[in-house]
Structure formats: C-alpha cells, structure tokens
Symmetry: D2
Subunit: 348 residues, 4 copies
C-alpha cells in the first residue's frame, strides 16, 4: 500500500496558491534589494496596523533557527545567557546555534513546554555572581514544541516578571498563527507586542515558501539590528520575496485563515480520537497533537500515513505526533479518522 498522506510536519508542501500568485504578479517590478523594497514596506504597514502600534521595527528573514540565533545574539552581552524550557527549540533542535554565538542556555524542566515566573526565578536564584553566567533574557515558544499555547494571563505574568528582573522576553512564533487561532487561547495578535520585547511571526509553517517576520517593540533592541542580519547572512538580496509573502498573508486574513484551517484539521482528528476513548499527552491545543494509541494500532496506521512516534507510554501504547497545516486536505483527515476507527475495530 502506498502512503496516503504525511502528518509528519507542517512544511511538507510549498506555499499557499495566493502567495505564488502574488509572487508571479510582482515578479518583474524592479525593486531595491536587502529588504528595502515596496513589498516589505507594505507588509510592515499591514502588520503594524494589525498590532495597533506603528512604533515597532519589522525585519524579514528566511527561517526560524536564523531568527532565534540573530535575535538572541544581538541582545545579549557576551557573558549573558538565555533561559528556556528544556523542550525549547533552541535547546533541542538547533545544533548548538545559540552556543555557537557564544551564549549558554539555562534550560528549565517544563512538563508542558511553557515557562512560568517561578521557573525563571529558580534560574535567577542560582546565578548570583560572576563565576556563573548572568541570565539576560527569556525565550519562549508559542505554540510550544509540544503543541501547548500560552493564555493571556500566563504571558502577561511572565512578561511582568521579566521586566521586574531585568530580563528581555523573546517569543519564538514559528507556529504563532496556530497558537493565536487555538481554541485554548485568549491571546490576540496585538497582545504579542504588548507582552514581549521581541517576537517573530512564522511564515514557513503557515503557508509561505519561506520567511519569518521579526517584530521588535522594545526600543533598546532596535538599534543597528540590520547590521546583525547582514553579519549572520540573513539579509537577502531579494528581500522582496519575503515581503511579498507577508504582504499576501496579512492583506486580508490569509495568515489567520491558514492557521485556522490547520487547527480545525487537528481538532477534528483529536476530537475523533477522544471519542474513540484514547487520551493525549497534554490537551490538544494547536496544529500539533500527541494522541496515545495502542502500538498495534500505530503500526497498522503507519502503513498508510507518515507521522513520528513520540514516546513510549506504558507497555503496549505510545504517543505519536500528528501535525496538520494550511495544506492538509479535509479528505485526508476524514480518511485518517475513519481508518483509525476501523483499525481499532479490527484489533479488538
């Protein structure tokens, strides 16, 4: 049997067709290079409008690891560290990118991938003199690497704690769309600049060919940021191609539409799985869900669908990671749900 669909990740396809269309339409217009083109400027105008704040700086770059390493290294002094959840992308899947810029990560154990003021305090309490690094900022992801999302009061409390303790708060928004459209979240897009010093809006995993938009609201962090981009190889000659995509994402709601579709697909699956009586790691909240299924069922399912097996859960069960996206076809989801039901029946 051939593979019907891959639920492995949210970057298996190219871009939303409207993005390709706008790329084609603007293709032959001569523009300035390095992000100083009309499209980047227009995209920034749209994003600022949506944030309700003109006083932010916006920069467009090609990927998430790049965004993380540039933001973090541009902020910290050489002896400063960044606090992150142990599950944080910078702590697990960036090949030492942050350390390569000279900075230590203070990883904190977090069961749900989120950080709280108490967790941050633990690190501060341990780092009190010059024989240790000096924590300078906090890194969080929303949605997190395990699919959870921050609520407004959680984020606000963390931001306030950071401000009181001289720490900058940086949010990795590789999957920000899905986080904001989550049925578990009461955060709005405009809260992002209110409750962080800097964050980025993920394009790659929400319908763009590539591209993330870094948004800096804290004035301290704005100065000379383009030097950092250039020095790390992130200032694309044809910056326009990211500008065009964010322009399209934010022109009339494609960003939300894409994320909303991804979440709907995930929730359809998680609701169906719950109905079959299976549980999850965490509460399904965004486009990454982690159902716990019998190993036999997983094996059977994997003949037709691609996904990652995440963790052993007891003797005969495991969790798997199912990722949906703007591109996930409704039909594939329906068939997937049906197949799980049938396999369950079959294995009885």
């Amino acid at each position: 049997m051939t593979i019907r669909h891959s639920f492995r990740n949210d970057y298996s396809e190219g871009a939303h067709e409207r993005i390709l269309k706008t790329l084609a339409e603007t293709n032959m217009m001569q523009q300035d290079g390095y992000g100083e083109d009309d499209y980047c400027m227009e995209a920034s105008r749209l994003i600022k409008g949506k944030l309700g704040n003109d006083d932010v700086d916006i920069h467009y770059i090609s990927g998430g690891t790049q965004a993380n390493l540039i933001v973090i290294s541009s902020i910290l002094r050489p002896y400063e560290s960044v606090i992150a959840a142990n599950t944080g992308h910078i702590n697990t899947h960036e090949a030492g990118a942050i350390e390569a810029t000279g900075h230590r990560i203070n990883a904190v154990d977090s069961a749900d991938g989120k950080l709280t003021p108490d967790m941050v305090k633990l690190v501060l309490d341990e780092h009190t003199d010059e024989h240790m690094v000096k924590p300078g900022m906090v890194y969080i992801s929303n949605s997190t690497e395990v699919g959870t999302v921050y609520k407004k009061d959680e984020l606000a409390a963390l931001y306030e704690y950071c401000r009181e303790n001289g720490l900058y708060l940086f949010m990795d928004g590789a999957r920000l769309g899905s986080a904001l459209e989550s049925r578990e979240s009461d955060l709005e897009f405009s809260d992002m600049e209110k409750y962080t010093d800097v964050f980025y809006i993920g394009g790659t995993k929400n319908g763009a060919l590539l591209g993330e938009a870094i948004v800096i609201s804290n004035d301290d962090l704005k100065k000379c940021f383009r030097y950092s981009l250039k020095q790390k190889g992130a200032l694309l000659a044809k910056g326009r191609i990211i500008g065009v995509q964010f322009l399209e994402l934010f022109r009339d709601g494609l960003f939300e539409e894409n994320a909303s579709h991804a979440n709907d697909m995930a929730f359809r699956i998680s609701d169906a799985i719950a109905d079959l009586g299976y549980g999850f790691i965490g509460t399904p909240s965004s486009n990454q869900i982690f159902p716990i299924l019998p190993n036999e069922l997983i094996e059977k399912l994997s003949e037709k669908y691609l996904f990652y097996v995440w963790s052993k859960e007891g003797e005969d069960s495991s969790s798997i990671r199912i990722v949906t996206s703007w591109a996930t076809p409704v039909e594939a989801v329906e068939e997937f749900i049906e197949d799980i039901g049938e396999i369950k029946e079959m294995l009885r």
Copy 2:
C-alpha cells in the same frame, strides 16, 4: 522625467518565469524537509552530471554571505585565517561576517580583484609563527567584485600553489554564470571542481528567487557539513524551494542562457561606449562594467537611469558601475546606448 531602468544590480527583479512555473507545478507535492526532497536530489544529479563527477557533495542555501561564512568557518581551525583580495566581498561588504565566526581575513591588495600565487606567497612569508594567525585557505570570487574573470591557467596555477602550501581554495561564485559565459574566459563549468576544493554556484543573481549551491569536491571538507548548515540557520525547512530552482536552472541550459543574456547586454553597452571613445576600469568581461565618462554626461544620464558612481577619474570624469542581468530588456539597453550617444553629442 521618470526612471526608465535601473542598472544598479542584478537582483532587482524576481525570478525567471520558468522557475516560477516549476515552483507552481511542484507546489503541492509532499516532500521531506531540510534539503532531503526529490527536487534537491534531482538538481544535484544534474549538476554532478554537468561537472562530470559524481563524487562531490552539494548543499543548497539561501544567500552568498551565508555561503561564505559557513564554508569558511566549517573549514578553518580557530587560529587559522583566510586570504582574500582587498576587494573580496568577505573583506568589504559582509559586515564582519567572517570575523564574527572567529577568523581573521588576510587582505591582499589587488588591482584587478584577482589573486595570484605571488600575492598569496606574500602573506605566507609574513606569517611564520604562533604570534600571528596561520593562513588556512584562499578565497577568490569569479567573476570578481570588479567584473574581471579568471582564465584557466590563472586558476590552475593558483590551485596548484594552494595544494603545495596546505591551503584550501574556495571560490565564491555569486556571479559564476556570468564568469563562465564571459568572452574573456576559457574556463568551463567542469573546471570548477577540478581547480577548487569547494565553490558555490550563484542562483540569486542568475535568475532564481534566491539560492546558492555549495559544491564540495575535497573529501576533507565534506564531513558533517550539514551540522554547520543547521548551526548557522541555513538548513531551510522547505529546502525544496531552492532545489526546484536549481533543477530548473540546470535542466536544459537556463543557467547558461540567463548568464549569457546578462553578458550580451553588458557587452552591447561596453562596445557602444568604446565606440564613442570612452575607456573603462579594467576590460569589460562580465555583467558588471565600469565605463569612465564625463561627469556632465553621468549627471544627465542619471536622470533617466539608476546606477552607482564608482570612483573619481581625474578632474572631470568618473567611473560608473553598470550591472546587467538575465532580466535586462534589450529595449532598455538599446535606449540606454542611444541616450549616451545623444547626451555626448549634446554636451559638445
């Protein structure tokens, strides 16, 4: 009067339409991420075929500064330096990207932007003990930042000198297409892997939306290169989008076609300017030419065309930089030539 055309650079437009078309056609195929997709593999097969050597490693990344900093930092030991012409891109326009990875650049004065064994020897002779850095590699650009190109015997001699002296030779090919299609060059594409240890093929300036292909022929330099890509934020989740573009560039000659058009446009302009009796900085050899014109003529010309004024040449003249590309319309070139003639006439 409005601006008729910009000759400022070769990245003012998007991508060649055939590239956009293939991006659209492959868009919804689910693929593995991080450069392990079918398109990257097929592009590499094509490039290896054209090089006549299957034993090279090929990696696709988003831009030239990124290519330079990753290749150089992945090769050198911490105390080693890279030798470059003073005009070299890494020495002038990369915001200290190489130094930011910990390495010193030994810059050598070069009138024509090229390096010779004698110039490299000067650096080696000066660096003899551990109180100075240890030169570990040589960086060249082809075409150079001043539009010149290497001839086969020049490149072969430099490569041999490097091998004899324990130096790796790395060629920045941001404008490799134009160099190879130059009427001043006798190098062929397959010579690149013969006479360098590693080089890259520029896509961004030769018709792609973005993308450079790093080609490693020296076995010493292949090991764990993907770790370096990941660590520097260069491993794109949708690596496919660069793969697709190089696939199209190398499928049936688009790479050469684009470069050839760019050169033709430059040579038409340089030949016409020469016919008018004006000289050049260097011999026009690629898609960047540097005519020396009366300041009055330049001023008049700049009302209708965009270009950079390069250097003062005597009291009343200056050189300007004219850059053509795959996208330069024949009509714009013809009009530009006509306008120069008319302005000259007018100013008599």
Copy 3:
C-alpha cells in the same frame, strides 16, 4: 572572637617556600620568552620522565578555566559539544567560558561527580543527526568538584569507551595531586597519559603561585597548540615563572608532598568527625570533604573558622565543605577537631 583559620579553599595562601626560593634564585637569568625558556624545558623533561613517556607535549598556562577553554576549543569542530557531569567545573563555575568559544556542554546528572560509559552513552543515543550538536569529547575532573576520585578500572573503562566511540577524553586536573595521593585511589601519575588524550596538572591548588601544565598525549591534538594558547591570551611573556614552579614541584617530590599533606589534613578531620558519629556526603577521598553536621554546631564553628555551607540535609543538619591544602597547619587542624568535639559536647 577572630577567625582562627579558613578552610574555604586551597588557594588562600601564596606558594610553597621552596618555590619562592627557586624563583628568587633564577630571577636574573636572561631567558627566552613565551615558554621557550630553560626552566619550562627542564620541567617538561622531569614530567615526561615521571610519566615514562617522552612523546607528550607540555604547555604551561596560568589557570584552570583558561586550560579548560583552550583545550576544549582547540579540539572540537564548531558543531561539536563536550559531555560533562552536571557538577563539572565547566558546567557550573566558569561563567559560560566553554559556550563563549561556541560549544555546547551536554551535562549529565551524576550523583558522585564522576562519569561512566553508561552516562556517556545516554548522550550519544540522544544525538543522532545534524539537528543536534555532535558530541566530540568527554570532560572529567579528578578529583571531582565534590571531592571524589576515579579508580583505575573506572578511568580505563571510560577511556576505552571514548576511543571506541570517537570521543576524546580530557581530564581537568586542577586537584590532580590530591586525587593521586588519595587513599581511595589506585591510579598512578603515569596512568594519566595512558588513559586520557589530554589532561592538566594543577599547580595553583598544590603549592604554586599560579600555573597549570597541560599534557597532550594524543598526537591528533598536538598540532599548532601554541597558536591556540597565543590567541586566547595564555602565552605569558615570562613563561619562565610557571616553568620554574613546575620544575621545583617535580624536581624531588614536592608535588606529591604537598598533595599528601593536604590529604592527611583532610583525613585527620574526616576521621575525627566520623569518630564523633557524623556522616558525610560521599566518602572522604581527597582534600575536599563534606561532613554533615547539626546546624547549631555549624553556626558555632563558623565563629572561629571559615568554610562554605554546602547543602541542607534534613531539618536540623547541613553539609559543609572543608578544604585543606599544602599550607594547612597541623595545629589549625588539631584545634579544629578539638573545637568540634567541644561544641558537640556543649550542645548536648
């Protein structure tokens, strides 16, 4: 009451008087700089003799953090990491020195401060592709930061595991003297070069004014090491002053004599404390011991002696860290023991 003695650390005094004497005697001899003097050479001859191996490279530098950061950064490729116990000095008290050279530390929980092949395997099993760092070496301390020491079979097993798995083994020997003279250790000085790729011999904490001797036995790691020293600011103009001190330490047994005295003082204290019925964190093995005492006793004791309170142990007790050295007077130890006994009696 004034403080009678500090047991806070093993670097509270200057140098052993024989070292000062030899410094004075050699003071006015003109010598080459940067470690190429007669004294460094003679010291190396003595150390090689004691190791029974002439084929090692020896370099003298000023301190332990410097030794660690230079050895580690000179060995690892940019994407490689170093595995260490969570208690390891590089992981706790070097202000991010290793990360500042670009490398991640993979910290492993270790109850006794030592590493075993199984612990190292845990890290290797987790790091399997280029999205994570690649472990390249293992760092251990002997004695460890919690006073424990390696036995011969433990070290041999770890070294063999490292060799089989492509990892270099580096031993931080800031307190190597005390480790080797430990009554709990069966390792000999000559084992150091047999069972590590590189280690250093601590002078600062064993009677020198300052200075550590890095000994490299693995040929791969010898090349160009002086470049690394120079680049990190570790090549002292008057390298002679460290050479002279190691010459004196290894001329006729002062190194062992100093360490042996430090251990004797520690064991006298630990034996006496054990006799009083108190326990320890770990088995007292070297010049750092961690008795667990009633808080009341600790408070009283701290009026007359300086030491660090280490950890809470239950409601009414804590562990304290007592460090002895070559300079610890027998009288101070005897008085300390007597005082503990008296305070215990008093508090009944």
Copy 4:
C-alpha cells in the same frame, strides 16, 4: 665568544627584587581569592590616588593580549569593529585574538605607530551602512610598538574626536611606564584616565613577574566586567599575586623608577650611536630604539649581543631593535656602546 647581554626584549628577566621580597613577606597570609584580597584593594587605592580619581574600576590580569581581547570584546556589540594602527599589537602579534572574539580590526596605515583624528575619520567615512562593520572603538598603544610616544595634545585631540563620534578610546599600556617617563612626552599618569575611556598599566614589562592593571574610567564600561574576566579565564584564583606586585610598584615610586632606568639605558645607547653619526627609524623616545647601522657592524655586534634585525635600510644598512628594561645593567650598556665604537673604528 659567548653572549654578553640580550637586548631582545624587556621580559628576559624575572621581577624586581623588591617585588619578590614583598611576595615572600605576604606569602602565608590567608586571603580571599579571585582578586578580592587585601593586596589588590590596597594596590587599587594607591593607583586611584595617583590618578587623582577614586571613581575608576581597576582589575588585575596576567598579560597584555588577554587584557586587549577582554577589554575590546567586553565593549563592542557583535557587529562593531575596533580601529587600530597597522602596527598595533592586536593587528600584528596576537594570533587573531580579537577576531577570535568575533570582531574585525580596521587597520590604518601609520608611519609612526600613532593614530590621529584624521586617520580615524578615514575609517568612519568608509563605513556608513550595515553592509560593513560599524567602528565602535579606537585602540592605541603608548608607547607604540615602534617606540614612539603620544604627546598630551595629540592624545587629547584623539580622545575628543572619539567622544564626538561615539567611539570609545582604549590605550594599551604594556609599556606605559616607559612612555610616561620618556623625555619626549609631556603626559602625566593622571592624564591617562582623563583622555581615555579605559587603559591598562603594564607590569610584566616594567619589573613584575607578570600582570597588567586595567583601569576603567568610563562608567558605561564598568558594568559586569568581572564576568568578562571570568569567562575568558582571566580571574586568577590567587589574584593576590598580581595585587602584591602592583602594590609594590605603586607604593613609593618603583613603577617610575623602573621605567626611568629603562629609558636612561636606551637614551645612553641612542645618544652614543647618534654621536657616532648613525641615524634612527623614528626619534628615540622610549625603551625601544631602532638605530640604522651598517650590516657589517650589525653582524659583528651580534656575536656578543642579542637583538632583532628590524628592516633593510638601503643596500648596506639595516635597522635593529634594541630594547632595554628595568633590569638592564649599566655595565652592559657601557660595554655595548664601547663595542659599537670599536667595531665602527675597526671596519673603517
């Protein structure tokens, strides 16, 4: 014939006997580690007094390259560079130490080793956007690597230019004693903190075993400096040993006495050589002089004295570098002068 004396450098001997004496006297006093001992504090009190300013921070470290790399990397943002004379120690003899911390050096040609506002302006004029590094500070040496010294108006003008242009001014004072005692200088010790943001006082080359004292007068640069020291391996456990030496150097004039003796010895030699009719590279100004002598004379002289041949000067002559120090015996100087005269006579 055996070598009578080496004039190769000013670090051929150990330390001034008064320094050794004080080290011995303070040796067994228990003190806090890491530069927080009584001797460092007392030395700082003395230096502040001599500067006439209590509001400076003083840190003691082991050597000049270390001082340079720590000061520079602690000040600059990642994309900033440091401007230096091409002859500057950081640009020639530190094995890429500055670049290894991530920063580019903008080297400016300087005939006499000194920088002027005009030279600095040249660099600023060239660095105007984010495609190049952003100059953030200026590094000078006093005395310079070619033996010249700054006059008060020169230093004041440079400092003012730096302040007006947002550049910090850092003075490498490895040979500050000799510079201040120079008969060509009108600068006083207290001017150092007036006309720089940070400077260091060289101990190693002025009679100490080792040690430099970094003095920070600009408040911006004081914060968290000890973190930088620790992270680079510069915070010595027995920081006392440098404190003791600076205490002795500044207790009652030993610092000036040593430098003054070195200069006297150099001037005796340069005056005698001038009397013989020979010239110099530059004006003899400090303890490094560069007489131009016939090659035959140099060859003969080198049978009895050690010194470096510096540069070819015409067909039959060369310059040599003669370095004197606090330890240079008057007898050796007198004999040297006599020998030159005799050899000159002999060669007629």
